[in-house]
Each structure stands twice: as structure tokens, then as C-alpha cells.
Symmetry: C2
Subunit: 247 residues, 2 copies
């Protein structure tokens, strides 16, 4: 009889942002699988367990987890941020489907990078927002551009994931050019690089200044909507409560 | 000298989904402010502290927190989910701006309702997504409809917050009618009601069936994109990893 697989989100990195539920799942499992960086972040929870570390390949992580679970062992695959947001969950569940397997799987959500960035900025995601990854083999660039244009025209706050990927800066440059056509150059933009590492860097800038920055690969960008503003060090997208009316 | 204010996300409700950081902030403060439901969820962390409970009014919570901080006491305002997503952070920071006050404020992020729902469903948010609140005094209905249309046409996964608000079912009916014009009626739809309460209900349905459901006010709806599918009890929006190519 097969055991259970947990896909566990450990948040942006610092142990303080992990949930009790995620910690409990890691502590319960006998095998922990993950990217070396993520395993390092939860090493103190995984002591004494079998560790399988696989660099950069979620499909191999899925295979290893299934093999162990079919052998009757409870397995955790750890994922940075939330496992469901541009991370392991879709790849893993699709792998089960392709193999025509049904193994009990629990997704344990974690603090995603965007809410972490928004909190560091203030209230950047206060209103309707659209999340777009610039690099995704499963989504053609034409579809991504269509999503950029739709989000721009409907005044969504925009969260840009994977601005560089393996493709360099070309896509980000093209995306910024599109956005600059319709939004004011002084629109607030928040940039979070190397989140939750000792090199974490938070920048509050504008749409006009954004192309001039040199950014590391590991960067998330939040572009404000037409109502976003800066107060002190905070980037705020209003979603206001009005007395006697409500939200 | 004023003290510090923490806006703390406690996640969808169960104590197991709170982060260590959020718990520490609550335990450190001498005053805890919040909605009665949220205070009940973290009662064991707030024992012995001054409790200020204010029903339904985030502006009054903001005022109370500022008053206490100006008196030199560290204050926490607790928020369900994440304080930045359709919650207290924007209202609070805007209140500071209106009062021309600068009080040290830290936003402690929490597990948002959408990632919790997506995890319960499987991998509903696996690709690009748009979050839209159907009821928000700060956003005219015409703008909300424009956002719905943009998200539909660009094939975003759609997260519908506040489908009823104080306005009843009319807006949701209108939104579903819009979506049905462009997406297949068998598009998977995930519905999470009364999250993290003993009455939590998770439904996996289709766009065609959605209008036939009777739903409680406290509901979040995730509508799949053209690639979303169901396998077993899972709703999956693929974001696939391809060997030798990557994501």
C-alpha cells in the first residue's frame, strides 16, 4: 500500500515565515526531497531523515517521491514560496495523471513571494491584480504578451514573475515598453530581489526608472495601477473603507 | 515617542496555518486589535493582553491602533488571510497619510485565502492568474467589468473575491454570464466556502453548473483557464516542466 505525499510550501525563505502546518508535515515525513537551497532553509526540521536533493528538476523530484511513496514511505517535497504558484504542484499532479497513478497527495500552502513582497512594500497589492510569468515553456510568448496588454488596459496591479528566466532581459524590456505606452512613467514600482537571503534588496522606484536598473535573475516586480501611490517608504494601492458604506 | 504597529495576517483561520513570524508579533505586542472572529482564532496567543475588538470597521481599528501607539504601546491589528490582499493594510496606511502621521508600521504577511483554496483544490493557480473583487466601493462596477473582460479574453485563471458582498447575487450572475460567453461550459471551477471553519465546503464544479449553485456569502471562486483540467479530485492548471527545457 502506498503512503502519502506532501507538497509543502516553506515560504520565501526565512524559517520565521513557515507555517506550523508546513513544519509539522516536514517533521512527520520520513523522506524529504527538494532543491538544495530549500533543503538548507529547513535543515533543522529534517535532521535524521532521508534527504534526496535534486537540483533544478521538479520532474525528477516527482518521480523520486512517487517511487518512495509506492514503497510505503511518507514523503515531503519542499518548495519555496507556495507549491501551487509557479511551482511543483502542477508538475507533480500532472505527472501522476500521465502515469495514471492515484497516490494520496496533500498540498500544504506556503507564503508566496508576491504577498511577501507586497508586505515589505506596504500595501502594493491592495486592489485587483494580475500575476504574469515572463518565462514559461508551457505558455507561448504571444499569449504572455496578450496577458500583459489585457492587464495594462484593465488597470490591474501587475506582478511580474521570472522577468529574466533563461532568456535574458529581452522579454522584460519588451514588457516594460508595452506598459509604458499606457501607464504614467511615475507609476510606483516595487522590486524585490533575492528575497529572504542575506542579499535581499527592496527597491521602490517608478515605471520610468525601471528600465535603467540592473537586476539579478531572482527578482519579482510589482507595477502599481493608476491609483497606486507612495507615502514615506510605503507603496500603497488603495482599497479604501468608507464609513457607513464599507469596502 | 510612539511605539510600533504590526498588521498581522493570521491565515485563513486554523491556527496551524499561521506563520511563526505572525505568532511572534502577536505575542510581543501589549495590545491586540481585530474583528471578533479573528481574535477568537488567536485567543491562545493573546492571553493577558489588552484586547480591543471592533466589528466590521477597519477604519476604527486603524484609529484605535494609532492612538495606542502614540501612547507608547506596541499594537497588533490582526487580519484574516494576508493583511495586504483586500484587507487592512491599504486602509491603515492611507489613514496614516490622511492624518499626516508617520508611525513605524510592519506588515507581517499571512497565508491568503486564494493560495489556501488552490492548495485544497490541487494546483488551480498553476499559471498566470487575475484576482478580482466583485464588491469594492473604491472600484466602480464598470471598471470591475472591464477587468473581468480583460481576464477572460487573455485566458487568465480567475480568482473571484467577494462574489456577493452586500449587493446580493446580481454581480456574480453578470460576471458568470460574461465568462460563459468566452470559456467552455466544462471549464473547471473550484468553490471554497466558509474556509477554515467547521462548515468549510470545497466544491469542484464547472462553469456551466456554477450559476445553479446556492452559495454562502463567505465564498471564493477560482475559474480555470483553457488548459485547466480535473484529475481525480484535483483541479490542475498546468505549468509544466519539460525535461532539457525547464519551465
Amino acid at each position: 500500500m502506498s503512503a502519502k505525499i506532501f507538497l509543502v510550501g516553506i515560504g520565501p525563505g526565512q524559517a520565521e515565515h513557515i507555517t506550523h502546518c508546513a513544519q509539522a508535515a516536514i517533521e512527520r515525513a520520513s523522506i524529504v526531497i527538494g532543491h538544495p537551497d530549500n533543503l538548507a532553509q529547513i535543515a533543522h526540521m529534517a535532521r535524521g531523515k532521508e534527504i534526496i536533493t535534486i537540483n533544478q528538476n521538479p520532474l525528477e523530484r516527482s518521480r523520486a517521491a512517487v517511487e518512495k511513496a509506492l514503497n510505503g514511505q511518507d514523503v515531503v517535497i519542499v518548495s519555496s514560496g507556495d507549491p501551487g504558484i509557479y511551482a511543483i504542484a502542477a508538475t507533480f499532479l500532472d505527472y501522476l495523471r500521465q502515469q495514471n497513478l492515484m497516490i494520496e497527495t496533500e498540498i500544504v500552502p506556503g507564503l508566496g513571494l508576491a504577498v511577501y513582497a507586497s508586505a515589505r512594500l506596504g500595501a502594493a497589492l491592495g486592489s485587483d491584480s494580475a500575476s504574469i510569468s515572463l518565462c514559461d515553456q508551457n505558455t507561448p510568448w504571444t499569449t504572455i504578451c496578450r496577458r500583459l496588454s489585457a492587464a495594462i488596459s484593465a488597470d490591474f496591479v501587475m506582478v511580474i514573475y521570472n522577468p529574466f528566466g533563461k532568456l535574458g532581459a529581452t522579454r522584460l524590456e519588451e514588457a516594460i515598453a508595452l506598459i509604458q505606452q499606457e501607464r504614467h512613467l511615475n507609476t510606483p514600482v516595487g522590486v524585490l530581489s533575492q528575497a529572504s537571503t542575506p542579499d535581499e534588496k527592496l527597491l521602490l522606484t517608478t515605471l520610468g526608472e525601471l528600465p535603467k536598473l540592473t537586476l539579478p535573475t531572482d527578482t519579482l516586480i510589482i507595477i502599481g495601477n493608476s491609483q497606486s501611490y507612495v507615502y514615506g517608504n510605503y507603496m500603497i494601492t488603495p482599497r479604501l473603507y468608507k464609513e457607513n458604506i464599507g469596502y
